[in-house]
């Protein structure tokens, strides 16, 4: 974790005050990572299943993070991020079962595959804007889904099975690296934690880089950025591909953990849920969507027992959109800024709502 401190430390010393994450926020992230790392052995001893849930929360947090980088930060609403997630997952499944279980080979490969798929989708899609961009990414992702489901590549290549069709590729082993076997969930937890933490640092860094600033400029005012001499399309495609790399990484972590890669990973419902996680968490903050993802995974887990969990989950989405449009992150920030005003704010939100309904 030393590098994390170093990286944070340097940007902290910079002059400008518009950091994506305040120094207090960075401390919070460090504490969260530390707490997770310390909590894991306790969980393993007391209730190993928690680890299982935590790993999934972290992987979806990474996926949400990757989408927030292009959506919240660069303004590209991708409704097809499942394609990169699934592509990374399938790549990992194939590599592990056919070539090697070495995490240092497979995970970067999953990132590359995610980036390539995103690059292809992005190259075709970035010309369109707003909802048209979203629809294009949806169409492309569904193309990938149908291909995986019908195992079209196998037909084209003339082999018996490539994606494994509707059953997918199953029985995938977990990683091994330098003699360490990641099969025990506790070990896999640390691998995931490290990958997610490093990804967070990397994407935070990217967001604050000159490149990231241009992306942010594109979100706020695409035309202006163009007339400053930037090749907007290139920036968008590259931003999208970078995001895809991290989505691919999430897939590469998820598939060996679940032991199976299947077409459902590429389905638009995953992309849709991801957008929900982002809005729930708070768009454009990077950390908010991670919280949102963790919350959705947690809720789905906890509500699964109730017969009517869909009503509750859907209800939560509706209430959040109406009353807390800035999501969890917005709520946390407003409480931090002024804890005394929570009640007043809530009252105002409700009055506001009633006014608007009556209009």
């Amino acid at each position: 974790m030393k590098s994390v401190v170093e990286l944070f430390g340097r940007s902290q010393s910079s002059q400008t005050g518009d950091q994506l994450l305040s120094s207090r926020g960075r401390l919070a992230v460090l504490v969260a990572v530390g707490a997770l790392a310390l909590f894991a052995p306790i969980a393993d001893a007391y209730e190993p299943f928690w680890l299982n849930m935590l790993v999934r929360m972290m992987i979806f947090a990474l996926l949400a993070l990757s989408l927030d980088f292009v959506f919240g930060y660069a303004g590209l609403l991708s409704f097809g991020h499942a394609a990169m997630f699934g592509a990374g997952g399938y790549a990992a499944a194939m590599l592990i079962s056919e070539v090697t279980a070495n995490a240092l080979v497979v995970l970067p490969a999953a990132m590359v595959v995610g980036a390539v798929v995103a690059g292809i989708i992005g190259w075709f899609s970035v010309r369109a804007r707003g909802i048209y961009f979203a629809m294009l990414t949806l169409a492309f992702a569904q193309l990938f889904y149908v291909m995986a489901f019908t195992d079209l590549p196998a037909t084209i290549l003339g082999v018996e099975s490539f994606t494994g069709g509707d059953n997918g590729l199953y029985g995938i082993q977990r990683y091994a690296l330098f003699g360490v076997d990641f099969t025990p969930t506790l070990v896999y937890f640390y691998l995931t934690l490290a990958a997610v933490a490093l990804s967070f640092v990397a994407l935070l860094r990217l967001s604050n880089s000159p490149f990231g600033r241009v992306l942010q400029g594109i979100r706020e005012n695409e035309e202006r950025v163009q007339f400053l001499g930037y090749d907007v399309r290139r920036y968008k495609v590259l931003g999208f591909a970078l995001s895809g790399a991290f989505a691919g990484l999430a897939g590469g972590l998820y598939v060996p953990f679940q032991s199976v890669s299947h077409p459902g990973l590429l389905h638009w419902m995953i992309s849709g849920e991801l957008v929900v996680m982002l809005l729930l968490g708070g768009l454009g903050t990077l950390w908010g969507p991670m919280l949102g993802a963790a919350l959705v995974v947690f809720l789905e887990e906890q509500l699964a027992g109730f017969a009517s969990w869909e009503i509750v989950l859907g209800g939560i989405f509706v209430v959040v959109v109406i009353f807390a449009p800035r999501g969890l992150a917005g709520a946390i920030i407003s409480v931090r800024d002024d804890p005394t005003n929570v009640a007043t704010n809530a009252k105002r939100a409700i009055r506001n709502y009633i006014d608007k309904v009556r209009r």
Partner: protein, 266 residues
């Protein structure tokens, strides 16, 4: 109106043209927005484009800057065709525009607004552009400060753009355009909606900029146009109606007719 005025350098100016068009035409579907316009913009001077609303002034700007691709004709910048190039390629060659409606990054500070522009000259897609922190870009930031001083915003450097006063915003708008290092700066109504005092400041600023940048203005305020311009082009219904020094234009009957008689389109 079949009659087309073709202006040549010898008619109006002794300097070589920095930008010239030859029969440039732009159609949107069945509508002809710019009709066979041939014009030469002399270097190092101030040229104004005037005309009633809907005359095609902004469309002409959009053709110059690559927002639209011409349907026909040729646009040359320093003797090289730029018609149909992407906007960023045209900016790279030195043709930059500023906007009528203030067009910046509201959530960023004034300094950062300008820095995004200056940064373009230092960074691209090298490794450092992904890994460095944006605040560590010393040269672009120094450039940005310099530009803020030029547009008299040095005191507002840390103010978020959305919080600037109206006049300040227009200054920032010009600053951002300057930061793109124009050789030719196309300014879309730099004084629109300003108080007389603010207008005066901007006029001074425009004069100062004109010292080392060729300027083309779209402007409604006739007094400012007459005061600032070395030459004036008059557009009407997409055609070049008249072209010449301010005094000539003032005397041109067709211009008066177009302005007074045909101005009812607003």
């Amino acid at each position: 109106m079949n009659e087309t005025v073709t202006a040549t350098a010898s008619d109006v100016s002794e300097t070589d043209p920095i930008l010239r068009t030859e029969g440039v035409t732009k159609k949107f579907g069945t509508l002809t927005a710019i009709d066979d316009v041939s014009i030469e913009i002399p270097a190092d001077e101030i040229t104004s484009i005037i005309g009633p609303n809907g005359a095609g002034k902004t469309t002409l700007f959009n053709l110059f800057t690559g927002k639209h691709e011409p349907t026909g004709g040729r646009i040359e910048f320093r003797g090289e065709s730029i018609g149909g190039l992407a906007p960023h390629e045209i900016v790279d060659r030195g043709v930059v525009r500023s906007f009528q409606i203030t067009n910046f990054f509201g959530e960023l500070t004034a300094l950062e607004n300008v820095r995004i522009a200056t940064q373009a000259h230092y960074s691209g897609f090298g490794p450092g552009d992904f890994a460095r922190h944006h605040a560590s870009l010393e040269e672009p930031i120094a450039d940005a400060y310099e530009i803020l001083e030029r547009v008299h915003l040095e005191d507002a450097a840390r103010t978020t753009a959305a919080n600037l006063s109206y006049g300040q915003r227009r200054h920032l708008e010009i600053g951002i355009a300057l930061a793109a290092r124009p050789e030719l700066l196309l300014m879309d109504e730099p004084t629109a909606g300003m108080s007389p005092e603010e207008t005066h400041e901007v006029v001074d600023l425009v004069r100062a900029i004109a010292d080392d940048v060729t300027l083309v203005l779209i402007e409604h305020d006739t007094d400012i146009v007459m005061e600032l311009s070395d030459q004036i082009a008059v557009l009407n219904e997409g055609e070049l109606l008249s072209w010449g020094a301010p005094a000539e234009i003032q005397a041109d009957e067709r211009v008066q007719r177009a302005y007074l008689g045909g101005g009812g389109r607003e």
